[in-house]
Symmetry: C2
Subunit: 338 residues, 2 copies
């Protein structure tokens, strides 16, 4: 995503503050009671964690989640320090889930960089992910807002629960409702908390916090559908992975779902998902059939509807340049190509 | 630990409430914005997670951490619901760390029951641990107290950071300070937050919250030293693992540290830790030499000093049967045999 477009321009400085906060060394609560040492001590995480965080933070994510929190926070003039803490917590939570996901999927590259598990042991990768979860919770706590912290904990539960469901449920007979539930847990829940919590921090009235949540949630649904579409039609260099990766990983996503609903050749899919024929030829044939069926266009149309509905939620809010930027951001989501 | 002793009797009903809360199905924040479904929905985690939580919770831990929180909370008459939420959060956080630890160590049994990773894939085990962290954070949020939530997040960072340090640092030249730092992060930090946060929930004055923290921290130090001693002298059936497991895993703990400080035969230890001679004969010989050196007694004496100091912190607090129970609990820690 091109960070020079207007919506990012508005929060460019804020995003720098987010990066600085993420790269800061946290102050850990140290032990007080050592036999030979009575004074309060503080402790720091091992140096290597600092460099891992800097590497992960610097590896060029889209920063769409923190940008959402920052823009939404500005609509209601939330306190700068708290909104930056929230945006940082959201981005780091996202990063933490990626660290464990890459380990679980055995992914060796992300955004063109080696994943943590590509160079570290599984043990170190698990613990580093755990540490990042903890630090994300600590950043969320820095918003000094009980409701935001509860939302944050809830969202983490939704994400983990969704991942476990997805793992248990890698079959061709996925319903559309199950697919929606999955992408809600995977993506939309975190988008929703980014915008809702930002409004809460700004003291937005209840109806506005709900509108911000709806905006984030619907945008997140659109974002994930587009992501799922790109797995079928994207540029492999830009994706950083071969086309059809989701099918190969046993996942039914929007295009496959529409293909099956439109009476596409079921065998092409069940061969891969239920019978485990994951050779290149089978994947290629299924991808080709799905592309030719019009499923990709149908999925994109669905994403556009979610975008339209996210914009409808925005219209409830008082006009401002930040609201305009959120509008622009949602339009951009369906047009992006990686 | 025998749950019929007096200190547990005082919180028997509370502990049942903790178990009930842990086994409750959490209400997850559901999606609002499905195309064909406008109403708010709530979601539940997959059934299998429920049975895992019940299994983990029911597998007979000592419940010492929640008991600490409950007893400390009663001294200052903390609200029952909040104190139960805190105690549950503490116990579940502990459980979550064990799930990932067992995976990392490849442990197949814990408390005589198969570990999660013994029957599940690593992927499922990682995600289940993550879910338990999330649920623990959500339970901490149910205390409705900002300071408690911040303490909780901080403690999780300390624990994870400590585990990573421990992994990076498996060598014979561990200093006593490093050992203290490690057992603080591993055990004492969570004991400390259990008692401090309980006081905070009860509106204890600042000096009393500090005394409660000191009590928990010092008791946690003693508890872990005793744990480390039991790895050298415990009954293998009760331990559920062979004597000398820590050495085999490359860990220097209190008895080994004292052995090295007292000019014990360094080679016996470096052979195992630095040169990787982890055969049964080497471990047996090192364990025998350490036992015969008096290191075990010295370590236990150190633990007793921590207990005495934890009791000194208690004496600052107003007298009550709950304070007496905490006193008794700390005396018990050094005398336990598993």
């Amino acid at each position: 995503m091109d960070s020079t477009i207007a919506m990012f321009y508005l929060v460019q400085n804020d995003l720098r503050q987010v990066e600085n906060l993420l790269c800061e060394e946290p102050h850990l609560l140290g032990p007080r009671s050592f036999t030979s040492l009575q004074e309060v001590r503080s402790d720091a995480p091992p140096q290597i964690l600092k460099s891992v965080v800097i590497q992960l933070v610097g590896s060029g994510g889209k920063r769409i989640r923190p940008a959402l929190a920052l823009l939404a926070g500005h609509i209601y003039r939330a306190d700068q320090e708290r909104i930056v803490a929230l945006a940082s917590a959201i981005e780091l939570l996202h990063t933490a889930t990626l660290v464990h996901d890459d380990l679980i999927d055995g992914a060796l590259l992300r955004r063109g960089n080696p994943t943590l598990n590509a160079t570290w042991t599984p043990a170190a990768t698990v613990l580093t992910g755990d540490y990042l979860f903890a630090r994300a919770a600590d950043l969320a706590a820095q918003t000094d807002n009980l409701r935001v912290m509860r939302l944050f904990a809830q969202t983490l539960m939704v994400i983990c629960s969704g991942e476990i469901k997805q793992m248990l449920d890698k079959r061709a007979n996925l319903s559309r409702q199950q697919y929606y539930d999955r992408i809600y847990a995977k993506t939309a829940a975190l988008f929703a908390v980014a915008t809702e919590a930002a409004g809460v921090l700004g003291g937005a009235p209840e109806w506005a916090a709900t509108a911000l949540r709806d905006y984030g949630e619907r945008l997140g649904m659109a974002f994930q559908i587009v992501d799922d579409v790109l797995d079928f039609v994207g540029n492999e260099d830009r994706l950083g992975k071969p086309v059809g990766s989701d099918l190969r990983a046993g996942l039914v996503t929007a295009p496959t779902l529409w293909f099956l609903e439109r009476d596409g050749d079921r065998r092409l899919i069940t061969d891969i998902l239920d019978d485990g024929h994951k050779d290149d030829a089978s994947i290629r044939e299924a991808v080709r059939a799905i592309r030719e069926s019009g499923a990709v266009e149908a999925a994109l149309e669905e994403a556009r509807q979610f975008v339209t509905r996210s914009q409808a939620a925005l219209e409830l809010l008082p006009p401002s340049e930040y609201r305009d930027a959120l509008w622009e951001l949602s339009a951009f989501v369906v047009e992006r190509n990686r």
